[in-house]
């Protein structure tokens, strides 16, 4: 668990982060979203003390981070950044082994861990272990960057626009992978993004920042249905609200007993996918794999604030 208490950062008389407090529960994902210059990256970098707070403190599992030497603190916190930041002169395996080596793991353990991570990220070790970063595609570099951040099994992972340099198709699958791996490992994750869709897709909670202030810190549904300020509402964009709302719930949550014609929809598909399928095939109801139906009527209700999916 990480607790941020009244964190402030000033550069001269410019305040970049202003009295921000928030808590991220163990195994949760917090997505910090905002325009550039909103202070979200500075907030993130104060967690592993790449930026020293002017005031306030950060507690990780109850320990004040200021009481630990910065480099030792950082070895326990995963860190992945935009454009991957891989070391160009080191192989994939050496890059991933960075933190384990700093921690003094023995060679056999490091090797096993590297292979395990490469498997986890679907990069066959035999093929990728000894490659240099420039011999990888952008998506592969990014996966190696995240593997490196996870190498020493940190309880906390910080990511700064990790998918910013990827094209949309690869980005979507990278987000899905991250979500899967984060659930598998139970890592607490703080991710900075300027992309509200990414924040919606990943965040258990979303923190919206503007001009150094944390405007709202709440689950995605609350951000959508109950924006704290006009800025938050504007950032989400009114035209996308129903679709964001639908994407937060799964078909299984809305299924009712009954039967319908046509090809079925998977129970863990999002309501947004179900709506798209209804509209595209011109059907008023879809059968759900394993029984039940989801109706267009129910989808329509779920797309409104306070609708059926409000309390899954």
């Amino acid at each position: 668990m990480i607790e941020i208490e009244h964190l402030t950062r000033r550069y001269g008389d410019r305040t970049v982060v202003r009295d921000v407090s928030l808590t991220v529960g163990r195994g949760q994902i917090a997505a910090l979203v905002g325009t550039s210059g909103s202070g979200k990256t500075t907030l993130l970098r104060m967690i592993n003390r790449l930026v020293q707070p002017t005031a306030g403190r950060v507690l990780i599992d109850g320990t004040d981070t200021a009481t630990v030497p910065a480099h030792l603190l950082r070895r326990r916190i995963g860190y992945a950044i935009q454009g991957h930041g891989l070391f160009p002169h080191r192989t994939v395996a050496q890059n991933i082994a960075t933190v384990p080596r700093l921690l003094g793991w023995d060679a056999a353990r490091i090797r096993a861990r590297v292979d395990e991570l490469l498997d986890l990220f679907q990069l066959p070790p035999v093929e990728f272990r000894d490659r240099l970063p420039h011999q990888l595609s952008g998506g592969q570099q990014q996966r190696v960057g995240v593997s490196r951040a996870l190498a020493a099994r940190p309880d906390l992972l910080l990511m700064d626009e990790p998918f910013g340099a990827l094209d949309p198709v690869i980005r979507a699958s990278a987000q899905a992978d991250l979500r899967r791996i984060q659930r598998e490992l139970g890592t607490t994750l703080v991710i900075v993004t300027h992309d509200i869709d990414e924040a919606m897709a990943l965040g258990d909670r979303i923190g919206v920042m503007d001009q150094g202030l944390l405007l709202q810190y709440a689950p995605p549904r609350a951000i959508l249905t109950d924006p704290a300020t006009p800025f938050v509402a504007r950032l989400i964009g009114t035209d996308q609200r129903p679709f964001h709302l639908l994407s937060l719930s799964r078909v299984a949550d809305l299924a009712t007993p009954g039967t319908a014609d046509g090809p079925p929809v998977a129970p863990d598909a999002s309501l947004r996918d179900a709506l798209a399928l209804c509209l595209w095939s011109g059907r008023g109801a879809l059968p759900v794999q394993g029984g039940g139906v989801v109706t267009l009527e129910a989808l329509r209700r779920a797309a409104r604030p306070g609708g059926a999916g409000a309390d899954p």
């Binding site: 950044i81 160009p88 002169h89 240099l132």
Partner: protein, 393 residues
Amino acid sequence: MAAAAPARARVTLSRPGVLFAAIGLAGLALPLVQFRANRIVAGEGASLPGALGGWGWIAAAALAAALLVGVPARTPARLRLALALGGVLVTVAALGASAGALTPPGDRIARVSPSAGFWLLGLAFALAVADALARIGLAFRQRWALLAGAVAVVALVLGSGLLDDVSVMREYQARRDVFAREAGRHLLLAFGSLGAALAVGLPLGIAIHQVPRLRAGVLGGLNIVQTIPSLALFGIMIPLFGWVAATVPGAAAAGVAGIGAFPALVALFLYSLLPVVSNMVVGLSAVPHGARDAAVGLGMTRAQVLAQVMIPLTLPVVLAAVRIVLVQNIGLAVIAGLIGGGGFGSFVFQGLNQTAMDLVLLGTLPTIALALVSGIALDLLVAQLDGRRGRGT
């Protein structure tokens, strides 16, 4: 149109080929060697046929043919390379044979020295070799092999006695033991000053990068040193270190002196500092920001960031500096001969004083060879490192 096309195809010329042929043919027309009854008197030129008779005509015809084959653009690069290498060897062999033929048997005073014809032929074929190599684009391993092969062939030719009657080799035979010593001294001056410059310059570059306030002052100061003409800097050293040696206790015993190797080393060291320091600074600031940020963010200490990320990534740029400095110092070390520092320069200045050009050449040719080999070897190293790290991909 239809009639003109084949005509145009027939006259397609390789521009470099034309240039090399022009230089080489001019060389054939000029005297290959110069014969002098002794070291000092004015000599008379002798062309290839003039020196070697019938064999000379054959050699001249072969060289001319090799030059002319390179003129059409469609001559393949590998054939160009073979002909050019053959041309170099024939030219050198012709020099040795002419010297042997022109020198009266048993005469140790007569001198046969290379003349304009030899230099032009050598230049033409050397350029043709370089041009052909650039066209072929050899792999690194082949380029290393070629460099080693070239050095071995030169050693073989010199050791075979083929050139023993040529004036420069005559001078060498008279100074065999001194030559080895001065060669060692020359290497010491060039590599010693490089080593010292690296030992001081690399940490200095790191310091400047860490403390940017130092940058303007240090680089400015080194820039000023770089603008002092070498002769002047060597001159400044004489009174300066002479005074230090005379007044500071123990300095003279430690080797400090106004003349000799010490001031020469110091001067070369000073000239080396700017390229080393500035390349180190450039290399450090060119390290990708992401790599640096990640290194700190993953928990490396300052020293670890430097040792494991920053410095390895500056290696190609530092090697480029080493190349600049080494080639520069091998050349500049010649001036050390003027202040008693030894090295090949001592032959050059002795030769100048005695107006004995052969002695000057005895100092110059090994200097050029040394600089060439070092330059090519380091170029290869830099290119290999860059290739491995995927720069420019």
